[in-house]
Amino acid sequence: MKSLRRVLGLGVCTLVLFGILYPLAMVGIGKAMPKSSAGNPIIRNGQLVGFEQIGQSFTSPGYFWGRPSAVDYDASSTGGSNLGPTNPELMVLVRERIGSLVNSNPGLKIAEIPVELITASGSGLDPHISKQGALIQINRISKARSIDPKRVHELVESYSEKSLLGLFGPSDNVNVLKINLALDELTVSN
């Protein structure tokens, strides 16, 4: 009987402490940083248009396109393809992606395509592409928006994120949503 009381007592106490008080306290501390603890939402004209680090699907020629997504950027049910490196299905998909990139970006050579643009991310929500992945889309975008390619190029340069402290981790990644928001600003101000 005594050991039953110990088990129940310890079980319920820890349940309250770690299952209720700890997470609630953290949510409370999060209130001190309302923006980041809400996942850095982006509001434009009073409307929620996205979150800084959550990728979105872009298919129109006037926007930078992100990476392929196994869940088509469905942020309510995320995931990767889980295709193995020798899976024939993966090869079919990659060939299709190469084909569609070459078709929609006139003059693009296959050897210029960076690997992230033909592979799906783990989350299905990867917000980034590499700088090279942005550069090869400049011609298409400037034509669709009828703006000077130089200005789009400048945008890519300024939106290429440096690695942490310039020392650690991959460098020159471009956040697709952020640069597309900037593109929209650019065309409006024209």
């Binding site: 005594k2 050991s3 110990r6 088990v7 129940l8 007592g9 310890l10 106490c13 820890t14 349940l15 770690f18 209720i20 700890y22 997470p23 953290m26 501390i29 603890s37 996942g39 939402p41 248009v49 996205g50 979150f51 959550i54 979105q56 872009f58 926007y63 950027y73 942020a75 309510s76 049910s77 995320t78 995931g79 990767g80 393809s81 889980n82 295709l83 193995g84 490196p85 020798t86 899976n87 190469i98 050897a111 395509i113 960076p114 690997v115 033909i118 592979t119 991310s121 783990g122 989350s123 990867d126 917000p127 590499s130 690695s163 942490l164 310039g166 020392l167 650690f168 991959p170 928001l181």
Partner: protein
């Protein structure tokens, strides 16, 4: 040097640097010495009072084991009932997610109780806030606390000159949670929140994308959950794709913090062993052996992933690009590989890239890591697993030099060696039998169709799942359609056996050693710190893993590598 490589070196060095003082601190906590966290003692006293526990009561190994198993039964029962009746009550379930199917509930309750966190469900669609916090978040603390407490009992048993008192399990478990896991989790959760990990109860937010589509974005109290999932070598993520999800792991800085958190406590416990026993040199040797394997594995995995997929080069894609399928651009291939090696070495099981899509050798390395299951290892239990290899190595070395094997001034006799050998063999037994059953079932009835990949890689998916269950790891080659009654029951049973037998066996060994009369250490005794013993130990580890698993590795990752 390139910044991706610098990043992984930083993660490793930071972990070692932080683990040293943490190890010292944990020894103080185990011994009840003064620490800066003493302000928490009223809270602990309240818990003990409410539960009628005397935290200073000395307990022998059997009493401690009963306490451990008793509280774990409660963990399991509460979790199972909460999942089966998730939809039956209105608490913290804003989108009315329903009850769980019983075999899935069984599997998941076992999974979180045993610190495995194999997830056959998807967090954002299957679990209410009640489930995420009162089942998953809670169990990620107390299951880790169980492991750390078991390890502290083992330390005490090895230190005893002669006596049966191993310490008090309840006291050690509560303090592992409140003094070690909780403060670290608070720090990590704050780092995550500053960087954009959600911490709210917003549920789904409706987003209108730039192209005018409407998308539902799932959020939630992610930061507190991710913090403890990493620190307690749990790995149970808030979202389906775990720490690849930008809300769980928003940028490279959080990736560093989370990766350090994965290996921090397992590393610290090795140092803690040295401080506790006052055998720092021996602890350094153990740490050296583990690190040798760890760095070796990381090097192979990183170089394979950086080489990329040769099939893409044949299609005309430029050479020298990493394998990015299943990976995130913000982490890159090197940090994804280091994470993969960290999470499989420590039985954590969280992922920041999809292991199923790694190149064959890298995926094979992850499995090898879990076969050994003692390269730092899970919190507490990793060191316990390593201790078993030490017993076997001491026995073999004793045979070689023709003396009665001894450890810390105690004779190792037939009883201890038998227990150690049986527990060491259990791991390959569970993995190989499980994989054989699954393969047989699939060959008999191909319409089961649970593989996402054909050929050798498909076999690897089944091998990985069983290995992950037996190593209490919880990561997966997630292409496997594993939410079926067969997989739920099979891996559920494997997780239970693989968790508790390797705790019971070693506790029995130290219980027996602790009660023995010490024998004087002489010049003729085996020198544990000697390089010769180090060589024997590392051979035992490698041979046990290689011999038992080599055939399975040949059929899976190695065969795929040669067709790659």
């Amino acid at each position: 040097m390139n910044t991706e490589i610098l990043g992984v070196i930083l993660i490793f060095l930071l972990s070692v640097g932080l683990a040293w003082p943490l190890g010292k601190y944990m020894v103080k906590v185990f011994g009840g010495q003064k620490t800066w966290t003493d302000f928490l003692s009223p809270l602990e006293r309240l818990i003990f009072k409410l539960s009628g526990i005397d935290p200073d009561q000395p307990m022998d190994w059997k009493q401690n084991l009963k306490a451990l198993l008793g509280i774990n039964v409660f963990f399991f029962l509460f979790a199972f009932l909460a999942l089966v009746f998730q939809g039956a009550h209105p608490f913290w379930n804003p989108v009315n997610i329903g009850n769980w199917e019983p075999t899935l509930a069984f599997n998941t309750a076992v999974s979180f109780t045993t610190n495995t966190n194999l997830q056959h469900y998807s967090g954002e669609t299957g679990a209410s806030y009640f489930t995420q916090l009162l089942v998953f978040c809670w169990l990620q603390f107390v299951s880790a606390g169980t492991g750390i407490a078991a390890c502290a009992l083992l330390f005490q048993g090895l230190k005893n000159r002669r006596g049966t008192n191993l310490g008090n399990f309840y006291n050690l478990m509560v303090k592992s949670c409140t003094r070690v896991l909780l403060p670290l989790a608070v720090v990590l959760a704050v780092i995550l929140m500053i960087n954009g990990t959600t911490s709210n109860f917003e549920g789904l937010s409706q987003v209108t994308t730039l192209e005018g589509q409407t998308v539902q974005v799932a959020g939630g109290p992610t930061a507190p959950m991710v913090a403890i999932k990493q620190l307690g070598t749990n790995g149970g993520g808030y979202f389906g794709p775990n720490s690849t999800h930008p809300f769980e792991n928003p940028n490279y800085l959080t990736n560093i913090a989370e990766n350090v958190a994965i290996i921090l406590i397992p590393m610290a416990l090795v140092f803690a062993f040295g401080f506790f026993m006052d055998r720092k040199k021996l602890a350094m040797m153990f740490f050296g052996i583990m690190s040798l394997l760890f760095v070796g594995f990381a090097t192979i995995s990183i170089s394979e992933e950086l080489k990329g997929n040769p099939a893409f080069t044949e299609m005309g894609i430029a050479n020298g690009q990493s394998n990015m399928e299943g990976k995130e651009v913000r982490f890159g291939a090197a940090a994804s590989s280091l994470w993969g090696v960290s999470t499989t070495a420590t039985s954590n099981g969280s992922v920041n890239s999809m292991h199923d899509s790694h190149t064959p050798l890298s995926g094979g390395i992850f499995m090898l890591d879990m076969f050994i299951n003692a390269v730092y290892g899970g919190v507490g239990v990793g060191f316990i697993n390593f201790f078993l290899f030490v017993i076997v190595a001491v026995f073999i070395a004793g045979q070689m030099i023709g003396r009665t094997p001894g450890l810390f001034g105690k004779k190792i006799e037939a009883k201890e060696v038998k227990i150690a050998a049986l527990v060491v063999i259990l791991h390959p037994f569970l993995i190989l039998v499980g994989t054989a059953m699954a393969s047989y079932g699939l060959v008999q009835d191909p319409s089961l169709g649970w593989l996402n990949n054909p050929s050798f890689h498909g076999f690897s998916e089944m091998l990985y799942e069983n290995t992950s269950a037996s190593a209490n790891n919880g990561s997966g080659f997630e292409g496997l359609g594993d939410n079926t009654p067969f997989w739920n029951v099979l891996t559920g049973i494997i997780m239970l056996l693989a968790r508790y037998i390797p705790i019971i066996g070693p506790l029995a060994i130290v219980g027996s050693l602790s009660a023995k009369n010490p024998v004087p250490v002489t010049a003729g005794s085996l020198q544990l710190e000697s390089p010769a013993f180090g060589a024997v130990l590392i051979s035992v580890i490698v041979i046990v893993a290689a011999l038992a698993f080599f055939p399975a590795m040949v059929l899976g990752p190695l065969a795929e590598y040669y067709t790659f």
